[in-house]
C-alpha cells in the first residue's frame, strides 16, 4: 500500500492583525506532529506568494478591507478544496469592520480616511495627506466578512482562537471527523 500523501495547507492573513497566525504557532511542539501530516504551500509561514499546486485546506485570517484582500481570498477559494475562516475578523469582519459603523454619511470612506490621517485627535501626520501611493491597493467601501465574498466551509471562532482549538480542528478535519464544534468548546461565558 502506498503511503498517503501529506495534505497541502495554505494560509493567508487579510484584514487582520496576524494574531491568528501567531495562534497557529501557539500549538507549540504539536507543530512537529502536524507537519508529519501536512505540508504548507502558499502562506506567510513559507513566504510562498503563489500557489504551487491545488491545496486541500485553505486557512484565512482577517476579512476583506481592500481589493487585494478580495483577490487573495478569491484565489484561495479557487485553489483550495476546503476553506476555513480563522478568527473573528475572517468570520464577521472584526475590529476593522468598525468603520462600517460610519453609515450616516454621504462619503463614509472619505470621512474615515480624513479622521484617520487629517482631522483625528492625537495625530502625528506631518504631511496632512491621505496616503495614496500607486502601490497601495484600493480600499473597499466597507469591510466584508469572508463569507460575504466567497463560500466558507468552516469557521473557527475566537480572537484569537487558541492553539489547542486550531490543532484539534485541523487534526479532526484531516481524519475526516470534523463536524462542527460542541457548544461547550466555543462558549465564553
Amino acid at each position: 500500500m502506498t503511503e498517503l500523501r501529506k495534505a497541502r495547507v495554505a494560509t493567508a492573513s487579510l484584514a487582520g492583525c496576524f494574531g491568528c497566525h501567531m495562534a497557529i504557532l501557539d500549538m507549540d511542539e504539536r507543530l512537529i506532529d502536524l507537519m508529519s501530516k501536512v505540508e504548507i504551500d502558499r502562506s506567510p509561514l513559507t513566504d510562498f506568494k503563489q500557489f504551487t499546486r491545488r491545496c486541500d485546506i485553505g486557512i484565512i485570517e482577517g476579512g476583506c478591507c481592500n481589493e487585494e484582500n478580495v483577490h487573495v481570498l478569491q484565489d484561495f477559494r479557487r485553489n483550495c478544496d476546503v476553506l476555513i475562516a480563522l478568527g473573528q475578523c475572517a468570520i464577521m469582519g472584526g475590529l476593522p469592520a468598525m468603520r462600517n459603523a460610519i453609515m450616516h454619511s454621504d462619503a463614509p470612506l472619505r470621512e474615515c480616511l480624513e479622521e484617520a490621517f487629517i482631522t483625528g485627535r492625537n495625530l502625528t501626520n506631518a504631511t496632512h495627506n491621505i496616503p495614496n501611493d500607486p502601490a497601495l491597493p484600493l480600499l473597499l467601501d466597507e469591510v466584508y466578512a469572508c463569507n460575504e465574498v466567497v463560500e466558507i466551509d468552516h469557521n473557527i471562532p475566537g480572537c484569537a482562537p487558541s492553539g489547542d482549538i486550531i490543532y484539534d480542528t485541523l487534526i479532526k478535519l484531516l481524519a475526516g471527523k470534523f463536524h462542527g464544534f460542541e457548544r461547550e468548546t466555543i462558549r465564553f461565558d
Partner: protein, 622 residues
C-alpha cells in the same frame, strides 16, 4: 462654518402668539401627558409640523422632559419635525395599489406638483409622500389628502385634483361635491364606496336598534358574560381569543376604574372590514362597547381610530353625540342608576404596530406605540394600569347582536370552533372586491367563485402576517382551526410575481417594526435583503435554509405579534410555492459569491484616490 438648520430653528423659536396657541392646545386636555397624542395631532394640524421649540413648550406644559415628547413625536409616521405642505398627499403604497397603476398615479402627481415623493413644494403648498395600506384596497389606487381620502385614482383625475387645488379650492370642496351641505355620513360615502357584496344575517343585514343594549340592561353583567361564553364568540382581529373569557377576566379583577377600548386601528394590509362597520354600523360598534362596559363595570371607553381613517372622525363624533343626547351614553344609561359610561375618540397617527393591543394602550396613554411585556395582560393591568378590555370593532358588533338575538342563534352558524359569521375584505385580482359577510367555514374556492376570481393563482389569507396559499389548497376553509384571518383575503392571479409580493410585505414589516426587539428590527432587514438576492437572481441554494433559520430566530425572540408573524410572507411562500425559490437559486460555479460586486465596492476608493485598480481594471496597462 455653516449653521446647522436645526440651530436656526432653535434660535428663531416661536412667536409669543404661537407659544400661547400651543399652551392652549395643552390646556384643552388639562395638560395631561397621557393625552400627548391629541396634543401632538393638534399641533401638527395647526403648524403642519412639530418643531423642536414646539416640543419644548409642550414638555413644559405637560411636565414631561423634552426627550419624552420627542420620543412620541418621532415615533409616528404622521408627525413631522419639518413643515409639511398645507395640502399633504399620502399615496397608498400597498402592493394592491402598485398592481392597480400606482406608478402612473405617482408620476402624475410628481408631474403636476413638480416635486418627487418625499418632498414639499418650495412655497409650502403641497407635500407628497407614500404611506402603507390605508384600508382602501378595494378601490385602489387611493390616497389621503389631508384628512380626506380619494379613491380609484387615475392620472387624469390627479391632474384635475391638482389643478383645482392649485387654483386655491380647499381639498374638501375638490374631493366632495357640495361638502358643506352634506352630513358626515354622506361625505364619507361620497369619498369611499363600501362595496358590500354579500350581507350576512349578523352585521350587514337589517340590525334592530340597540336591542342588544336593552337585553344587557335587563339581564345584568353576569348574564351578559354567560351569554357571550355560550355563543362561543371569538375575537375578530385575527388572534381569535374567546371574548366572554376576556370580559370575565376583566370583571373579576379588583379595581376602582376599568376601561373598554375599541380597536379601530385596522392596519393589516388588505383589511378594510372595520372601515365598513364604522361607516355603516357605528351605532352597533358603540352599542357593543356600552354592553362591554356594563359587563365589566367600566365607566370610560376609548375608540382608537387609526390615523388613516380620520375621514370618519366627524361621522363617529356625531354618532357619539347623538347617543349622548338619547341617553345611550353618559350618566344613567337607559335610566339605570349607576350605569354610567362615555366614550372618547382617540386618533392614531400612522403606526401599524398600534393595532397590537399593548401598543394601542401605550398610544392611548400618550406614549410611543410600543407593545407592553405580557403578562400582565390588559384585562388585569391595561390602560393607566387598570383592567381593560380591548376588542376589535367587529367583535363588539357581534357582541351587541348576540345579546339582542341570542347565543344559540349565533352559535348555530359557522363551525363548532368558529361560530357565527365573519366579514371578509376581499381585494386584488378579482371582479368584485369588497366586503363579504359569510359564516365561518366557507372554503377559499367558494369565496373565490363568489368574488369572481376563478383565475386566482395565490391567495393571501389574513394579510402579510397570515398565510399565502396556492391553487392546490383552495379547498381549505376560513376558520380558526384551518385558515385564521382578521378579515383580509388578497387575491393574486398568475401574472403576479410572488417574490415581488413577498419583498413588498417584508419592506412593510421593516418599516413598521417598532424597533424594541433587535431580532425584529434588524432581522427583518436581513430577510428583506435576502429576498432581494432571490429577486436579482443572485441567491444560492443555501440561502433558502438561511431564510428559514433567520425567520425562526425572529419568531422565537420577538415579544409581540409583529415579530412573531413578520417572517410569514416568506415562510408560507416557501411552504406553498417552493419552486418559486428553487427556480431562481443557483450555486455559483467557482464558489465565490455572486452578490459581492467588486466594481461597486471599489468605486468610492477609485474616485477618492483618483486612480484605477491594478487588479480589477483590466485595461490598466493600455
Amino acid at each position: 462654518m455653516a449653521s446647522h438648520p436645526e440651530d436656526t430653528a432653535q434660535k428663531s423659536g416661536l412667536s409669543l402668539e404661537e407659544k400661547a396657541t400651543i399652551r392652549s392646545i395643552c390646556r384643552e386636555v388639562e395638560d395631561d401627558p397621557a393625552r400627548m397624542m391629541d396634543i401632538l395631532l393638534r399641533v401638527q394640524d395647526r403648524f403642519r409640523c412639530i418643531s423642536a421649540p414646539a416640543m419644548d413648550v409642550i414638555a413644559e406644559a405637560t411636565g414631561l422632559s423634552r426627550i419624552a415628547v420627542e420620543g412620541v413625536a418621532s415615533f409616528y409616521a404622521f408627525f413631522s419635525s419639518e413643515p409639511k405642505g398645507r395640502v399633504t398627499i399620502r399615496l397608498c403604497d400597498d402592493i394592491i395599489d402598485r398592481f392597480s397603476g400606482l406608478a402612473s398615479v405617482t408620476a402624475a402627481f410628481e408631474n403636476a406638483l413638480s416635486i418627487t415623493v418625499g418632498e414639499t413644494t418650495p412655497d409650502g403648498a403641497f407635500s407628497l409622500e407614500y404611506t402603507p395600506c390605508i384600508g382602501l384596497c378595494d378601490q385602489a389606487p387611493a390616497a389621503m389628502v389631508n384628512d380626506l381620502v380619494v379613491t380609484n385614482l387615475t392620472a387624469e383625475r390627479v391632474h384635475e385634483i391638482v389643478a383645482a387645488l392649485k387654483a386655491g379650492a380647499p381639498p374638501e370642496e375638490v374631493l366632495v361635491d357640495r361638502y358643506a351641505e352634506r352630513t358626515p355620513y354622506q361625505r364619507a360615502k361620497e369619498m369611499v364606496s363600501n362595496n358590500i357584496r354579500h350581507a350576512g344575517p349578523v352585521l350587514l343585514g337589517p340590525v334592530p336598534e340597540d336591542a342588544g343594549l336593552e337585553a344587557a340592561v335587563e339581564t345584568g353583567p353576569a348574564q351578559i358574560i354567560r351569554t357571550l361564553e355560550t355563543s362561543g364568540l371569538r375575537g375578530c382581529g385575527g388572534a381569535g381569543f374567546p371574548t366572554g373569557r376576556k370580559w370575565r377576566a376583566a370583571a373579576a379583577t379588583e379595581a376602582d376604574r376599568r376601561f373598554v377600548i375599541c380597536n379601530a386601528d385596522e392596519g393589516e394590509p388588505g383589511t378594510f372590514k372595520d372601515r365598513v362597520l364604522l361607516t355603516e354600523r357605528p351605532h352597533l360598534v358603540f352599542e357593543g362597547m356600552t354592553i362591554a362596559a356594563r359587563a365589566i363595570g367600566a365607566k370610560e371607553g376609548i375608540i382608537y381610530l387609526r390615523g388613516e381613517y380620520v375621514y370618519l372622525r366627524d361621522l363617529l363624533e356625531e354618532v357619539l353625540a347623538d347617543r349622548r343626547n338619547r341617553g345611550l351614553l353618559g350618566p344613567a344609561i337607559m335610566g339605570v342608576d349607576g350605569f354610567d359610561f362615555d366614550i372618547r375618540l382617540q386618533l392614531g397617527a400612522g403606526a401599524y404596530i398600534c393595532g397590537e393591543e399593548g401598543a394601542l394602550i401605550s398610544s392611548c396613554e400618550g406614549l410611543p406605540g410600543e407593545p407592553k411585556t405580557r403578562p400582565p395582560f390588559p384585562v388585569t393591568r391595561g390602560y393607566l394600569g387598570c383592567p381593560t378590555v380591548v376588542n376589535n370593532v367587529e367583535t363588539l358588533c357581534h357582541a351587541a347582536r348576540i345579546l339582542g338575538t341570542g347565543a344559540q342563534w349565533f352559535a348555530g352558524m359557522g363551525t363548532k370552533d368558529s361560530p357565527g359569521t365573519k366579514l371578509f375584505s376581499v381585494s386584488g385580482d378579482c371582479l368584485n372586491p369588497g366586503i363579504y359577510e359569510l359564516p365561518y367555514g366557507v372554503s377559499i374556492r367558494d369565496l373565490l367563485e363568489m368574488v369572481g376570481a376563478e383565475d386566482a393563482a395565490a391567495v393571501l389569507v389574513g394579510g402579510p402576517s397570515g398565510t399565502m396559499i396556492a391553487r392546490d389548497t383552495f379547498d381549505r376553509r376560513l376558520a380558526f382551526d384551518d385558515l385564521a384571518t382578521g378579515g383580509a383575503v388578497v387575491v393574486f392571479n398568475g401574472d403576479r410575481n410572488i417574490l415581488e409580493i413577498v419583498e413588498y410585505y417584508m419592506s412593510f414589516f421593516v418599516h413598521e417594526s417598532c424597533g424594541y426587539c433587535t431580532p425584529c428590527r434588524v432581522g427583518n432587514v436581513f430577510l428583506q435583503k435576502a429576498i432581494g438576492k432571490f429577486r436579482k437572481g443572485l441567491a444560492n441554494p443555501s440561502d433558502i435554509a438561511y431564510l428559514r433559520d433567520l425567520s425562526d430566530t425572529i419568531i422565537e425572540t420577538s415579544r409581540c405579534g409583529l415579530g412573531m408573524t413578520s417572517p410569514n410572507p416568506i415562510l408560507s411562500t416557501l411552504e406553498n410555492f417552493p419552486l418559486v425559490y428553487s427556480a431562481v437559486a443557483k450555486p455559483s460555479a467557482d464558489r465565490t459569491r455572486a452578490t459581492f460586486d467588486i466594481q461597486s465596492a471599489i468605486e468610492n476608493a477609485r474616485q477618492l484616490a483618483k486612480r484605477r485598480s491594478h487588479i480589477y481594471d483590466r485595461d490598466f496597462t493600455k
